[in-house]
Symmetry: D2
Subunit: 269 residues, 4 copies
C-alpha cells in the first residue's frame, strides 16, 4: 500500500555492487575502514563531508558527555528487559533507547529547536534580548518547560555543560547558539522567578549547532551515545546480574562498587 506521494525515490547515502560498497561516494573498504574514526564516519554519514578537526572534537565531546549517567530509568528498563529476554540484546537496547524522549534524553532536540527559533528571530532583525525573552515567555504561556535548563541532581550547575562550552571555546567553534544558551540562562531568574542552570541537554545542541551539525539529527547524539552506555550495562548484567532489583527514590538499593577518588561522596542512584 502506498501512502502519500513523495517526490524523492532516491537516497544519497550508500549503494553497492558485488565488489564495492560506496558510502557518501567513498569506497568503504579502501577509503574508510581503518582510516577514519567512528566519530568521523558518523559525521560523514550525516552530512556527506568529513568533519574538520573542530567538528570532530565537538561531536566527540558531546557523545562522551551524554553516554552515561548511572542507573537512570532507561538503563533500568534496558537491564530488566535483558533479564527477561536474554536471547535478544537488541531488544534490551531498543527498550533503553525508547526512553530518549522529549522529556529526558531527547530534550537536546527540543532545546536545539528552541535555540534555533531564537537565532532565526535575531537573524530577522530582533535584538538578542528581545528574541530570547519573547521565546521564553511563549514557552511559559504554553506551560512548557524551558528545554535545556535545570537538573534534578545537578542543581547548582551541570558539570558537563560548562565543560562542553570550554571545549567549544578551545577549538574556536563557539558562536551564536552558545551565546543564546548563555543569554537565556541569564534571563531566566527574572522571567520565571528562579535561577535554572543550563544542563547537558542544553549545552549539547548549542555547541553542535555552532559547529554545523544538522538540526534534524540532534536527537541522534543522545541516542547514539546512550546506546554505548546501555551496551556496557548489558554486558555487566550478563557478567554479574542485578536482575529485577530496582533502585528507588528514597535511597540507594543498588551500590556503586567501582573505582572512586578517596574523597568522593556518592549521591543517590
Amino acid at each position: 500500500m502506498k501512502i502519500g506521494s513523495q517526490a524523492h525515490h532516491s537516497t544519497s547515502i550508500s549503494t553497492s555492487n558485488a565488489s564495492t560498497i560506496l558510502v557518501r561516494g567513498r569506497d568503504l573498504s579502501r577509503e574508510l575502514i581503518g582510516q577514519i574514526s567512528f566519530t568521523d564516519h558518523f559525521w560523514l554519514l550525516l552530512t556527506g563531508s568529513m568533519p574538520t578537526t573542530a567538528q570532530r572534537r565537538i561531536l566527540d565531546a558531546t557523545l562522551v558527555a551524554i553516554a552515561e549517567h548511572g542507573l537512570v530509568p532507561s538503563v533500568q528498563a534496558s537491564r530488566m528487559t535483558l533479564a527477561a529476554a536474554p536471547e535478544a540484546l537488541q531488544g534490551a537496547v531498543a527498550a533503553g533507547i525508547l526512553g530518549c524522549g522529549s522529556v529526558v534524553l531527547g530534550s537536546s532536540e527540543v532545546a536545539g529547536h528552541f535555540f534555533a527559533a531564537i537565532a532565526a528571530r535575531i537573524a530577522a532583525g530582533a535584538a538578542p534580548n528581545e528574541a530570547a525573552t519573547s521565546a521564553i515567555l511563549e514557552y511559559r504561556a504554553a506551560r512548557r518547560a524551558i528545554p535545556g535548563y535545570g537538573h534534578p541532581l545537578h542543581r547548582g550547575s551541570d558539570p558537563r555543560a560548562g565543560r562542553l562550552f570550554a571545549v567549544a571555546a578551545e577549538v574556536g567553534s563557539a558562536g551564536m547558539h552558545v551565546d543564546i544558551a548563555q543569554l537565556v540562562e541569564r534571563l531566566l531568574p527574572d522571567l520565571i522567578g528562579k535561577p535554572l542552570a543550563l544542563n547537558v541537554s542544553g549545552a549539547i545542541p548549542a555547541v553542535l549547532l555552532d559547529a554545523g551539525y544538522p538540526l534534524g539529527a540532534l536527537k541522534g547524539v543522545p541516542i547514539l551515545a546512550r546506546t554505548a552506555g546501555l551496551i556496557a550495562h548489558l554486558l555487566e548484567e550478563q557478567l554479574r546480574p542485578i536482575g529485577f532489583v530496582l533502585s528507588y527514590a528514597g535511597g540507594a538499593a543498588i551500590d556503586y562498587d567501582g573505582e572512586a577518588p578517596p574523597d568522593f561522596e556518592p549521591g543517590h542512584e
Copy 2:
C-alpha cells in the same frame, strides 16, 4: 516483584553526586569530555580501561565497517516507522535496531561464539584442524548455518572482511581468532561442498576478540554502528522523504543519487 535472587546489587560503571559524575572511576567532566574520542569512551565503558592504540584502531575499523550498507530491511523498517511516527525519532531507531538479530546484523555475536568454542577446544589440546572440523560438522548436523560466511551480494568475497584483517595485521593485533576464521574458510569447501567466503560479520568478531574486546558485548558493535547509519537515513528521510515506497527483490525502486566514481556499476538495492 523480585524475580530470582541475584548476588550482586551493585554496578561498577558509574555513580554521581551533585557536582561530579564518575564513569569507571574517572571524573567525566574533568578527565573525559574533550579529552578522549567516543570510541575510547565506548571501550572504557565496556572494560573499565582505556584502549591501547591497536584496540582503538580495531574498534574504530569494525564500527566503520558495519555502520552502513544501503537500504537493507532494517533501514526500511526504520524509515517507514519515522514516516508513520515522525514525533518519535527514538522509535524509528529502535525499530531498526530490533532487526540486529541472530540472522542478519547480530550474526557477529553468533560467529564470535563459534570461533570462541573452536579456540576453547584448541586451548584444551585439540589440533586446530580437528577443532574446527568438528565444530563445523556439529553445526551442520544441527542444520545451523555456519555463522560468518557467505553473503547474498558479495559472493566471491566481502570487501570489508579482507580490509578488517589487513588492519588487524597492520596494528599487530591479529591472533588466534583471525587464524581460526581463515582456517574455517579453507575447510568449508570440502566439508559443506561449496566455498563460502568470510563475511563482515565473521571478520568483526575475529579481529575484536583478538584485540581483547569482551565476548558478551560483540553484538553491541553492529548495534552501535548501525545506529549511526540509521540516524543518517532518518535525517535524509526528514529532508527529502522516500516515505512508504519500498525497494523489492526484482529491481531497484529506489535509486542512489549520491556521488560515485565514473566507472561504478550499481547493483540492486
Copy 3:
C-alpha cells in the same frame, strides 16, 4: 535518580499476595478468568468498571475494524524483523507497533483530540458549525492534515467507517462525537476545496468517545488490535516465510493466495 516530583506513588489497577491477584478490586482467578471476555477485561483494566453491552460491542467492533489491513509498512517492518531475529517474536511485534504513530495507525488519537476540542467548544456555547469550521481552519493554518479523513486506497469511502457508525446506531451509543465527525465531513469540501471521506481512524474515536471510552487511551485501540494482526503475520512468516521480499509502489510483488469471493478484484498490496 529521581526526576521530577510526583504527587502519586500509588496505582489502583492491581495488587497481589501469595494466594490472590486482585485486578480492579476483583479476584482474578475466582471472578474474571473464564467468566469474562478479553474485551471486557480490557475495558475493566482501563476504567475500573465492567462495560455495558453497548460499550462491549463498540469496543469489539473497533478492535476488529483496525486489526488487519494487509502487508502495510508496519507489518513489513515486523515480518522483516522476525526474519532477521527469529529468536525474539516480541521484538518483531515491537517493531510493528512502533509504526502506530501520529501519521498512520495512531491517527485515531489525533482525530479523537480534534473531535474532543470541537465538542469542548460546543459545550462552551459555540454553534456546532462554527466550532467545527474554526477547528478545521486552525488545522489548515498550521498546515496540519485534518485527522481522520481521506485514505490512499479507500478514496470514495472507507467501508469500515460506515460500518462502525451503523454499529453505534444499532447499539444506541451514537452521540455528539459521531455527529461532529459527520459534520466535519460535510464541511470539508467547501473549507479545503475537495471532499475527503471519513476513514477508520476518524470513525474509531468518534464511536469510542460516545461510548465513554477514555480519551487518553484512544491510541491503545489500534495498538492492541494491530498486535493481533501482527502476531498472525508472524505466525505465517514462520510457517511459510516471505522473508526480505518487499512489496512496492508500482505493483504487487507479494500475492494474496487465501480465500476470496469469485468476483473479487484485488488492488495492489
Copy 4:
C-alpha cells in the same frame, strides 16, 4: 537487497481493493465488524477459521489470566518510557512488550515447546512417565529451568493455573497437554529434589495446545494480553503520574489504592 530465497511470495491473511477489505476470505465490514468479538477475530486471523465455543472460552481465559500482574518490571519499563517520551505511547508499549522474553512473560512459548516435545515422544510410542522423565532430565543436564513451574510470589500454587485447568475441564477441551503438564508437576519433586507448582505460563500453553491453538503463536498470547495491561498502566500514568519512582526489592515504594476486599493482605509489589 535480497537475503535468502523464499519459496513463498504470498500471504493468505488479507487483501483489499478500493471498496472491500478481505480478511481470511471474509468481507471485513459486512461479515466481521460488529458481528464477532475481538477474541474471535484473533483466532480467525491466526488460523483462518472461526473458533468453536470451547476455543473462544479457552483463548479468552488465557488472555484474561496473563494481562495484568501489578507493577512488574516490564510495566515499570513501560511507564518510565512514557514519562520520558509522552509524545509516543507506542514506544512505551513497545518497551513493555520487549520484556516478554524467554525468562518472564514469554515462557509460555518455552513451556509449550517442552510439552509438545513430550507429546511427540508419547505419540512415537514412549510411556508418558518415561517421556516426561527423560525430557525433564535433559533440561536439567543442560542446566535449563523447567519452563512453566515455580513462581517467586505464588510459591504454593499459582491461582491462575488451577483456574485455567478448571475452565478447560468445564468446556471439555482438556487433553494430552494438560495431562502432561500435571504429570510433570508430579514428577518434579523426585527428579529435582523439590516441589515446583505449575505456574500460569505452564498452564496457558497446556490449555491452548489442547484447544488447537497454533504452537508458533503461543508467545502471542502473553504479548497481546500484556499489551492490554500496559495500556491501562499508561492511561493511569497520564492521569496521575508515578513517574520515575520505582518499587524495589526490600519493600513497597508504590502503594495499591484501588478497591480490595476488607480481609485482603497485600504482598509486596
